[in-house]
C-alpha cells in the first residue's frame, strides 16, 4: 500500500526509463568495511539540505525533469553552451526555432532558461501540454504575423504533428526535410568550419535544433557537468553537518575536482561516448549524481560511512542506466586485464602515496593471497576496488585499448598521413576480406559478383573482373548542419564513409571500428553478419564506378569451398578466351 501511495505518474515514468535496480543494502552493509573507511559513530542529527537533495535526485527522480524544477534551480544547474547564442541570433533575425530530440536531451531545460533570448517570440515551453491543433494555430499565427515562434517538442510528437498536418500546412514538410538532412558528409581532408562560425540566422526561416545530435559524452560537456555537480554552492550545508568528515560525498566530490581523477572520469565517459550510442543529458547527469551519492540519502550515507561501496570509483560502475551499460561493455577496469599491473595490485606492491586520494582515504598495502586463502570472495572484492581506484587515482591508471581496430580507425582519420596511403590501408583490408587466398592490392578495390537466384544458396563461387581505382574513392566524414555546429561545437567522429569521389549518396560504406574489426577477424561468407551486409551492399553499389575495358577483361574466378581459383582472360570483342592461369 505504501508503495502505491508513494507512487506518482511522474515517478512511474522515471522508473520506466531507468530499470529498477535490486536494492541490496543489507549486502552492502554486511560487507566488511574497507581498511580505509571507518564506521561512522556520529549522532543521528543529519539533515538533508534541499540543494543536496536536488543533485542526489538527478539519479532516478523528478529533479531530472526540467518541467518540475524552478527556473532559479535550473539556472544554477545550467551548463553554458552556444545554444543560447544561436537561439538569440535566430529570434533576433526574425526566424523560428524548433528545439527537438529525445526525452532527456534538455529541450525544456534550455528553453525555460532563455527568456531573454526569446523575448518577442511566441514560446511553447512544453508541447506535451498542448494539443496539436493549438500548437499549429499558434505557429501559423506567428508565421502570419511574421513573429518568431519557438517550441520545445520531442521528436516523436513533432514527426506525428508534421505527418498529420502537412497537407493542411505544406510548410511543415520543410521541417521534416530538415530533420532528415541535419547530417551531411564532406571529404575528410577538406577544411571546414567545425564551430559553425559561418552560420547566419535569417528572417522567416525555421531552424531545427535537434539536441539528439549533440554528443553529450564529449570532453567539454563532461568536464562542465563534473564541475557543475561538484561545485561548492550545492554543498554549503555540508559545512555544518556533523557527519561531514566521514561522508563519502565529501571524498567523492573532492576527488572529482582533482585534476587526475577528473581527467580519468572524462576519459572514461568520452570512451563510452565513442561507442556510438546516444546518451541524453539527463542520463549523463544521473550517472554523475550516482557517482557522488550512490543513490543514497544523507541518512543512508551516514550509515554507510566511507565504505568502498559508496565511493565514486565504485559507484561509477554500479548504477543502472544508459551510461552504466556502456561502461559495462568493456570499460570497467575490473574487466580489463593487465597482467603486470594486476599482479602488483594483488600483491600490494604499490606506493599508496602515489594515489591522489590517499591523503583523504588512506590505502592499505597487503598481499591478497593471504586473504584469499581464507576468504576468496573478500580478496576478489578488494582487488576490484583497488583496480578501479587505481584507474582514477594512480598516475599510471589508464584504460587499456587492446583494439587494433580503434588504432586503425584513428589512423584513417589522421590527415597528416596522405589520403592515398590511408585509402590504400582500407582497400587492402577490404580486398583481403573478399579473397584471402591472394595478395590483397591496395591501389584498387576489386569488385566481386556472385550469382545465385536462391538467397540462401550454399555456393560461394564468385567472379571478379572489375576494379575501382583508389583515385576514384574518397573518405568522408559526417558533419552537422551549420546551426548545429554553431550550437554544439566540435563533435567527436564516430564513423567515416568510404564512397565514390564523385557522389557518396548511395555507393557508400560506413567505416567504424566495428567494421574494421570485422575486416580483420572474418572473411567473406554468406552468414548474415553486419560486416557481410555492409560490404556486399557497397560492392554492388560501387559497380557503376568500375573500370571497364571494351576489349579485354581478366576475370578472376574463385570457389572457396573447393579452394579452386583461376584468372581467365576474355577477348570480349571476338568472344573468345585468351588465356588462364
Amino acid at each position: 500500500m505504501q508503495a502505491v501511495v508513494a507512487s506518482t505518474p511522474l515517478g512511474e515514468r522515471v522508473s520506466r526509463l531507468i530499470p529498477t535496480r535490486i536494492e541490496n543494502d543489507h549486502l552492502q552493509r554486511s560487507q566488511p568495511l574497507s581498511v580505509m573507511g571507518g564506521k561512522n559513530n556520529m549522532s543521528n542529527d543529519v539533515r538533508e539540505d534541499e540543494r543536496i537533495r536536488f543533485i542526489r535526485l538527478l539519479y532516478r527522480n523528478e529533479t531530472a525533469y526540467a518541467d518540475h524544477v524552478v527556473v532559479a534551480r535550473l539556472r544554477e544547474l545550467n551548463i553554458k553552451t552556444n545554444l543560447d547564442d544561436v537561439v538569440r541570433k535566430v529570434v533576433r533575425a526574425g526566424g523560428s526555432i524548433v528545439i527537438t530530440g529525445n526525452a532527456g536531451d534538455g529541450k525544456t531545460h534550455a528553453i525555460r532558461l532563455m527568456e531573454k533570448e526569446l523575448k518577442g517570440a511566441d514560446v511553447v515551453t512544453d508541447a506535451s501540454e498542448l494539443t496539436y491543433q493549438v500548437i499549429l494555430q499558434r505557429w501559423q499565427a506567428a508565421r502570419e504575423a511574421k513573429r518568431p515562434f519557438c517550441i520545445a517538442i520531442n521528436e516523436g510528437p513533432l514527426v506525428d504533428l508534421v505527418r498529420q498536418y502537412r497537407e493542411v500546412h505544406p510548410w511543415l514538410e520543410e521541417v521534416r526535410e530538415q530533420l532528415l538532412r541535419l547530417v551531411s558528409y564532406q571529404p575528410l581532408e577538406q577544411d571546414f568550419d567545425e564551430e559553425g562560425e559561418t552560420f547566419k540566422a535569417m528572417a522567416d526561416t525555421t531552424v531545427i535544433i535537434d539536441l539528439s545530435h549533440r554528443q553529450v559524452l564529449s570532453d567539454q560537456l563532461v568536464g562542465s557537468m563534473i564541475s557543475k555537480l561538484t561545485d561548492d554552492t550545492w554543498y554549503e550545508s555540508c559545512a555544518s553537518c556533523p557527519a561531514r568528515r566521514d561522508c563519502a560525498v565529501t571524498y567523492n566530490r573532492s576527488m572529482l575536482r582533482e585534476p587526475v581523477p577528473r581527467e580519468r572520469m572524462i576519459k572514461l565517459l568520452t570512451s563510452a561516448g565513442r561507442k556510438g550510442r546516444k546518451v541524453t543529458f539527463r542520463e549523463a547527469l544521473a550517472f554523475l549524481s550516482y557517482c557522488l551519492f550512490a543513490g543514497k540519502s544523507c541518512e543512508e550515507l551516514r550509515q554507510a560511512g566511507t565504505s568502498e561501496e559508496v565511493r565514486y570509483y565504485w559507484n561509477a560502475f554500479e548504477g543502472e542506466g544508459a551510461v552504466f551499460e556502456l561502461l559495462d561493455a568493456g570499460l570497467d577496469p575490473i574487466k580489463q586485464t593487465n597482467a603486470s599491473i594486476d599482479e602488483h595490485l594483488w600483491r600490494g606492491q604499490f606506493i599508496p602515496e602515489q594515489f591522489v586520494g590517499h591523503a583523504l582515504m588512506p590505502l592499505e598495502q597487503r598481499n591478497l593471497d593471504e586473504i584469499s586463502e581464507q576468504e576468496n570472495r573478500a580478496a576478489t572484492n578488494e582487488f576490484g576496488q583497488l583496480k578501479r581506484r587505481w584507474y582514477f587515482e594512480h598516475p599510471e591508471g589508464r584504460l587499456l585499448d587492446f583494439s587494433e581496430a580503434n588504432a586503425r580507425f584513428a589512423k584513417l582519420q589522421d590527415t597528416q598521413t596522405p589520403m592515398a596511403i590511408r585509402l590504400g590501408l582500407l582497400i587492402k583490408m577490404i580486398n583481403g576480406w573478399w579473397n584471402r587466398s591472394a595478395d590483397a592490392r591496395d591501389d584498387a578495390l576489386r569488385l566481386w559478383t556472385k550469382l545465385t537466384y536462391q538467397p540462401r544458396g550454399r555456393t560461394h563461387a564468385m567472379v571478379s573482373g572489375l576494379n575501382v581505382n583508389r583515385m576514384r574513392l574518397r573518405l568522408y566524414r559526417p558533419q552537422l548542419s551549420p546551426v548545429l555546429r554553431r550550437a554544439f561545437g566540435r563533435q567527436p567522429v564516430t564513423h567515416l564513409l568510404l564512397a565514390s569521389a564523385d557522389d557518396p549518396r548511395y555507393a557508400r560504406l560506413v567505416v567504424d571500428p566495428e567494421l574494421i574489426e570485422g575486416l580483420m577477424q572474418s572473411a567473406f561468407s554468406d552468414a548474415q553478419t553486419p560486416t557481410t551486409r555492409r560490404l556486399t551492399q557497397f560492392n554492388d553499389a560501387l559497380s557503376q564506378y568500375g573500370d571497364r575495358s571494351p576489349d579485354v577483361r581478366t576475370i578472376e574466378v574463385i570457389d572457396p569451398q573447393t579452394e579452386m581459383r583461376a584468372a581467365v582472360v576474355v577477348d570480349l570483342v571476338n568472344r573468345r578466351y585468351d588465356s588462364a592461369n
Binding site: G101, R163, D210, L447, Y453, Q454, P455, G457, R576, A580
Partner: protein, 495 residues
Amino acid sequence: MSKVLRKTLSDELHRRHGYRTMEAKIKPVHIANALMRVEHQCVGRMNVLEQLFIATHRKNSTEQRIAAVQTMITTQKERWGALGQVTDVRNSALMTKVLPLIRTLLGADGAAFGNTPEMSSFSSPTALTVTADPSDDGAGAFMHRLWGARGTERLDILDLLAELTDPNKKAADMDDLSALLAPLVEGTREKKVTSSFAAEDLSSGFSAVEAELRRAAIHLAAYERKLNPNPIATLQRVVLLAGLSVFMHASTRPHERGGLERRFLLLDSSGEHFSPVAQASTRCVAQLVNDASEYLSIVLSDLLESAHPNWTSNPLGAINALLEAGGHAPFDGRAKLARRIKESIEETNDPDEIRREVCEELLREIEGNQRRGLDGYLRMLGIRSGFLYPAQKNPNKRLNPSDRTLEVMVMATVDAKLPPVEYRDFLEQLCDRWGIVVGGRPGDAELIANGGANVPGRALRDNSERFLDRLESLGLARRLADSVAVVGLLEAAHA
C-alpha cells in the same frame, strides 16, 4: 491413377491461375530461365556447353571427359586461344580449373544436371544461356503476364529485365559473369512462347492481390533505376520478386478464389527457435499451408461437380466421369482407393461431409508422401525464395526472410522516388501489400490472435524493434531521435 488425377488437378490449376503447383520442384532459377525465355523469345545454342557438361560431369570417366575437352578444342579452336594450345589436356588449366569452375558457377542454384544442358536452368545472367527447361511449371509466363506484356500495361521492371539479360549486349556493358560465359554460347535461336498463356487469372484486369504485386514491381524497378548497382544484384532481386510474387499469388488463391479468410503472416525477428514470436509465426505459416490444402479440395470438388452434377450422391461415378472426360480409363471399383472412399462415406449422408472426406482421400492419393500439392509448393517456393525458414526438412516453417528477400520486400513496398517513409507507415504498407505483420502496430496482436496465435504484447513490440534493427543494419532504415525511424532508400547528403 494418382498420376492421372494429379495431371487433371494440375491442368485445372493451370487453367485457373496460369501455373502448375503439383510437382513442387520449383526454384527461382527456373522462374529466371523462363522469364528470360518469354521476354527474349529465344533459347541459347549450346553445342559448346554440351561438351562442357560432358567434360565436367562427375559420373563420366576421365577418358570421356578428356575426349569432350579435346572435341571442344579441335572443333572450335578460335574460341580457346592460348587455353586450347595444350599438349597435356588432362593436366591443363582448362580441364582442371576453368571448366569445373564455370560448371560450378552455372550450377550454383542446383538446377544444372547431367550431360546435357537442355533440361537445366542456369545460374546465369544472360539470355544466351536460356534453355527450354519447363521446370517453372508456367510460373515464368505467369509473371511475364502479370508484369504486363500487353502494350501500355507493361511495367518498367520487364524493360529492366530485358536490358540486364539482353543476349546482344555490347561487350563493354557486359557484367563479369556474362563476359565469362559469352564465348561458350554460339548465339540464340527463336522460341515463340507468348501465345501459351490463357489462364482465368489475369484474363480480365487484376485482382486486389495482383494489383499490389504490380505496384511492388513498379517500386522495385524505381529503386533499381535510382541505385544503379551491379546488374547481377539487380537481376537477382528482380527474379526474387518474381518468386515472391508467385508465392503471394498462390498463397492468396484460397482467399481470392476459394472464398476463405485472408491470412496474415507474422515476421519473426526474435532470432530464437522457440520464442513466442517464432512459434506464432510458425502457426501462421501452418495456417496458410492448411488453407492451400483446403483450396485444393475446393478445386477438386468443383472438378467433380462439373463432371457429375450433385456428385456427392455418387462419388465413385463422379471420379470416373472426370477420368473419362480427360480421355482416361475409369478406375477399378475394387481398388484400394475406391475401398477407402466407400468406407469413409459409409456412415454419413451429409453432402458436405462426403465432399470433405472424398476430397481429402483423393488429395492424399494425388499428393503422395512427397506432399506434391499447393501446400508443398508454397513451402518449397517460400524456402527457396528466402522467405520461409528453416530450409531443412523440418515441416514447421516460419516467416524469417533472408537479407536479400527483406531488401526486395522493403524496396518493393516503399517508393524510392519519394522521401523515406516513417517506420509505422511502412508497417502499414507492409501489411497491405504482403499481408505481413511485425508487431509494431496496435492491431497486430489481434490480427494474429484471430488466426489462433497469441503472443504477449511486449514480445511483439520487441520483435518490431529487432526488425527495425535489422533494417537499419541493411541500410534500409535510419533511427532518428525519440523512437522515430524512417525506411526507404536513404541518401548520404553530400556537403
